[in-house]
Amino acid sequence: MRGLRCLGLIVLLLFAVAAFTPLANLINIRMAGVPHVEPSDAIVVLGRGGADSDGVLTNRSLRRLLRGVGLYHDGFAPLLVLSGSAGEAHARTTLARGFGIPETAILTTARARTTREEAEEIARLLLPLGQRRILLVADPIDMPRSRALMEHSGFVVRPVPTAATGPSNPESRLGLLRDLVTELAGWTYYRLNGAL
């Protein structure tokens, strides 16, 4: 029972630190790295969270799309590549068109189910066209793994994280830390099966 109490105390302390200190924000900033925005061949907006059953994009998916649309309108690349599930890619394409991006400038891929498959699909789409330099739009917490996978697929990656500091309320900080644990598990999995 003493061991259980120690474990409980550790969990409680971790909870307090995660929810009520800026630790999660510091990790977020560290994971995001330095944004590298310069003219490239394409803007790649990776999928995240899909779309609800009524076709509405999740918060993160929408945030990524908006960052990608902004980069396009600022003239950083002539192509916008939208990835994700079928529903997500469709909703993103509709929104991108609504934001004034011509259909000819939008490429979509909706077959991938994992980030690794996304990297492979986008490589099949862009590399034959000779487009290797990409602006990669992803959440800060996802950026290291996403970047490594895209580089592994043959791209020259310029990271453009969607945010820097992250949330400032306890609930969102806990969510951020949960994402970090998920991300570490994903990174470990990809390392073990040789994807990275």
């Binding site: 474990l7 409980g8 969990v11 994402d179 998920t182």
Partner: protein, 100 residues
């Protein structure tokens, strides 16, 4: 509402509960440390349940990918509901242990 406000609210209701328990119900304040110890045990149990649930979930996800050729996203395991369900499992087990 800021983080400190949340802590303040919880502190306030905790003090109120302490006063009601000791003044109205006559609960002895020297039994409080033992109760806090049991709470820590319950949280520890919940952590063990959560680890077990995640391990079983991961095995099912990867097992279905490998053996059934059916894709299930691993992100489903990061649902906050799993934490609450693990806590529920721990509370039931703890109550069961106490009632033996």
């Amino acid at each position: 509402m800021g983080s400190l406000a949340l802590i303040g609210i919880v502190a306030l209701t905790s003090v109120a509960a302490y006063l009601v328990a000791t003044q109205c119900f006559g609960w002895r304040h020297d039994t409080l440390p033992a109760a806090m110890g049991e709470t820590l045990e319950c949280i520890g149990l919940a952590a063990i349940f959560l680890a077990g649930n995640l391990a079983v979930g991961a095995a099912l996800v990867f097992g279905s990918r490998i053996f059934l050729d059916r894709f299930i996203s691993v992100y489903g395991l990061s649902d906050i509901a799993l934490v609450l369900l693990s806590l529920l499992q721990a509370i039931v087990l703890q109550s069961w242990r106490r009632s033996r």
